[in-house]
Structure formats: structure tokens, C-alpha cells
């Protein structure tokens, strides 16, 4: 019997279609990806059937599962205004550079006393900054101050954005530019802890709150 000869040399495969596909997918994912900004806390939100997406101009209070309070204001300009007011009220100094950096940060959580140290920590290490979060007790309610300054500042920037949109034409609704108040709680947070934060909101007469939830299918009967 004659031996079957194996073909010599390496068989060459045309990889072009595969490469095409790979790059197509890369492009797709690159363009659709929205990156999460680094957050100092990880929160697992409960799920609901709501399909409203998070609005643009928001004040967000985050509660982790130990009940620590964190805060975020989406608009950089309003953040700067809010921080300046807070620094003045608590008589704490920060360099111009750090104020600028603060205005582009996301969620933060520390007492006003800790703020200079918090800002001097490297951005990557802030997640492990030892803190109890923003105090909410009735004797030293810093969250109340953050919220009230933030609400005013975000209201102002919202109004200017509205005026701008009006000049551009179309019929913008003022409602879309008003700051929204969002509460992000972990599934395992005690409701009691959330209630202290909610009471702070209510103290400022901000009664329309939104809870962050992950999507869930609507049950069919």
C-alpha cells in the first residue's frame, strides 16, 4: 500500500474575513461602550419594573450596605459653586487646583474635616479612604448643607442651560432641566438608614425622590 504523503509546508489560511469581523466588533464595542467612572463605593441596587432612565442633571445620594452616605452632583459647574459655599461655611481651605479637580470627580463621601486629606489622596486610592461617609446626625448634619447648596447650584445651572436651549430654538421644557433627586441604595441597606437620608431631603422640601434600580421584566398576567 502506498503511503499517504502529508503536504509539506504550512497551509496558509486566509484570515482577512476573520480580521474584518474582529475589527468590526471592536469598533462597535468601542463606540457603544460607556465607561463607568471610578466610584468609591460598590452598590448593588434592587430591581424594579421601572423603565425611566437616569436624567441628566442629578443630585445623587448613595448609601452603601453599612449605611455610609456618599454624595454626587452631576454638573461640574454646580459642583464648584457648591464646594465653594461649603468651604466658606465650614472655614476650610483648598487650593484652586483641588477645587478644579473636585468639580470633575464623581461620588465622594467624607466629613468636611477630612476633605483636604481626602482630596490629597491619589484618585485610585480614594475608594479605600477610611471614612464614615457624610455625617447626617442632627447635631452635625453636613448632608443637609451639601444638599441645600447643591440644589441651589444645580437649579441655577439648570436654568442657564434652559435659557441656552431656548435660544437655540425648539421648545425645551423647564421640567427637563430642573435637578432631580436620586437615592441609590444597596439591597442590603437598612431602610432605617435610608430614612434618615430621606428625612434630610424632606427637611429641604424635596419630596419627589427617585430610587436607582436595575431593570426587571414586567410580569404578564
Amino acid at each position: 500500500m502506498p503511503k499517504i504523503k502529508m503536504p509539506k509546508g504550512t497551509p496558509s489560511i486566509d484570515m482577512t474575513p476573520m480580521v474584518d469581523l474582529a475589527f468590526l466588533l471592536v469598533t462597535f464595542f468601542m463606540l457603544t461602550a460607556s465607561f463607568r467612572t471610578a466610584e468609591p463605593v460598590t452598590v448593588e441596587t434592587p430591581s424594579s419594573i421601572s423603565d425611566k432612565i437616569i436624567p441628566e442633571n442629578v443630585l445623587m445620594v448613595t448609601l452603601d450596605k453599612d449605611g455610609r452616605v456618599f454624595f454626587n452632583l452631576s454638573d461640574p459647574e454646580a459642583r464648584k459653586e457648591m464646594l465653594n459655599e461649603m468651604l466658606q461655611k465650614y472655614k476650610i481651605g483648598l487650593t484652586e487646583e483641588k477645587i478644579e479637580e473636585f468639580s470633575f470627580m464623581s461620588t465622594f463621601g467624607c466629613t468636611m474635616q477630612e476633605l483636604p486629606a481626602y482630596m490629597n489622596t491619589e484618585a485610585a486610592k480614594r475608594a479605600s479612604f477610611p471614612t464614615q461617609g457624610i455625617p447626617t446626625d442632627s447635631t452635625k448634619n453636613e448632608l443637609l448643607d451639601w444638599l441645600s447648596f447643591a440644589a441651589t447650584a444645580a437649579g441655577n445651572t439648570g436654568r442657564t442651560a434652559f435659557e441656552k436651549a431656548k435660544l437655540k430654538g425648539g421648545e425645551p421644557k423647564m421640567e427637563d432641566f430642573k435637578p432631580k433627586f436620586i437615592l441609590r441604595v444597596d439591597s442590603k441597606t437598612l431602610y432605617k438608614d435610608a430614612q434618615t437620608v430621606i428625612d434630610v431631603f424632606r427637611e429641604l422640601n424635596l419630596n419627589n425622590l427617585n430610587f436607582v434600580t436595575s431593570a426587571e421584566a414586567i410580569p404578564v398576567n
Binding site: M30, A33, S50, D51, K52, I54, A194, I218
Partner: protein, 211 residues
């Protein structure tokens, strides 16, 4: 491997310069490696489901000289304690002052979809609103009414006499998850009036007796 061979530039003048024959074969492996590396990176880091928000209006803080609010009809109170859900319908009657059907007792419910689940209970209590809402939905689908009219009618419907209104009370150990689950169930049953409030002393006693 991936270089393109170049001929030495020494032989000028010897006839015409000729284009090289045959294809210059470029090894694509590194490029493919890179492409797949990027692909994997983007697949793993991209988040698809954007978080959603669930709106919930809290009652305003009571002021000193507020008038006493009128009693609402058809109120159901849910009490979240630890990981359990209790409810009672109508007003609260303590043992010392029992109502027509005796003192109030707490019944237990659950978050499943079977017997005694919050969903089933709400669906039967709030049938009136659910039925009317289905009609409105139909009209909206057929474009017989505008979006704004639909919303107005729906808002009116949820405060009608027959519509169920809900009070949510929580004890110290209740988790946010059960609170949100409950509000979610209320929204599924299209209940429009939801008010989270504090436990009263009488309810606390009943809870203690349950545990």
C-alpha cells in the same frame, strides 16, 4: 516574518526596473492578536443595561398648623418587618377600641407569585383601577385619546373612592430591598397613592406579638 523584502539598490542601469512578481505576504497574526485583545477588553468592560430610576413622592413634612387631613377611603397598610410583610385593610383598631369586625390583626404576605403573594392580593383589591386602566390603555393604543389626557385620567382614577391607597410602614430591621420590592409591586398593581409613614405604637405592639 512580516518584512517586505527589498532588493539591494546596486543594479542601476541594467535594463528596466521591474515590479516584483508575486504577492508580498504580510503576516497578519500580531494584528489579529491585537484586534481580539481589544475586542475582549471592550466586551468585558462595557456595561449594557443602564440603571433605571423609580420615582416615589414622599409626603411633605407636616407643619405645625396644618389642617388635619381628611380620612382616605380604602386604605391598606403594609408593614415591613425584618424579611416579612404584614398587612391590614382599613383603619387601625386597637384591642381597647375594637371596630365593627373586632380589633385589627396583621396578616402575612409574601413576594412570590402564588397564594397570599402581594401581587395576587393587590390585583384582587385594586381590580377596579386595573380594569379601568386597561380600557384607557386600549384607547391610547387606538389613538383615541392624547398622551396628556391619558395621564390626567390615570391620575384621577388612582385617587377615586374605589382605588386602593397604600401606607408603607417599616420597622428598624427592614431592608431597602423589601421596601423597593413592595413599591414595585404597588406600581405593577397601578396604585397611585403610596405614602411611606412611621409605625404607630399600637402597630408596634402587634408586631411584637407576631415575633
Amino acid at each position: 516574518m512580516a518584512q517586505i523584502a527589498e532588493s539591494g539598490g546596486g543594479d542601476h542601469g541594467k535594463g528596466k526596473k521591474r515590479a516584483k512578481k508575486g504577492s508580498t505576504h504580510v503576516d497578519m497574526t500580531p494584528m489579529v492578536d491585537l484586534a481580539f485583545l481589544l475586542l475582549t477588553f471592550f466586551v468585558l468592560t462595557s456595561t449594557f443595561s443602564k440603571p433605571k430610576v423609580m420615582p416615589l413622592a414622599y409626603p411633605a413634612k407636616p407643619k405645625v398648623n396644618d389642617p388635619i387631613p381628611p380620612k382616605a377611603n380604602n386604605v391598606t397598610t403594609f408593614i415591613l418587618a425584618d424579611d416579612k410583610v404584614y398587612y391590614y385593610r382599613g383603619e387601625f383598631y386597637p384591642k381597647s377600641r375594637p371596630g365593627e369586625n373586632g380589633p385589627t390583626e396583621l396578616s402575612e404576605a409574601n413576594f412570590g407569585s402564588g397564594e397570599n403573594s402581594v401581587r395576587k392580593l393587590l390585583a384582587s383589591w385594586n381590580e377596579y383601577v386595573i380594569k379601568n386602566k386597561a380600557e384607557l390603555d386600549k384607547k391610547l393604543d387606538k389613538k383615541q385619546i392624547a398622551d396628556s389626557t391619558y395621564e390626567n385620567r390615570l391620575n384621577k382614577l388612582t385617587v377615586e373612592r374605589e382605588a386602593v391607597k397604600v401606607l408603607i410602614k417599616t420597622d428598624d430591621k427592614a431592608l431597602c430591598k423589601s421596601f423597593i420590592d413592595l413599591v414595585d409591586e404597588l406600581k405593577i398593581a397601578s396604585i397611585g397613592v403610596i405614602a411611606p409613614t412611621e409605625l404607630s405604637a399600637g402597630e408596634k405592639e402587634l408586631l411584637k406579638a407576631k415575633n
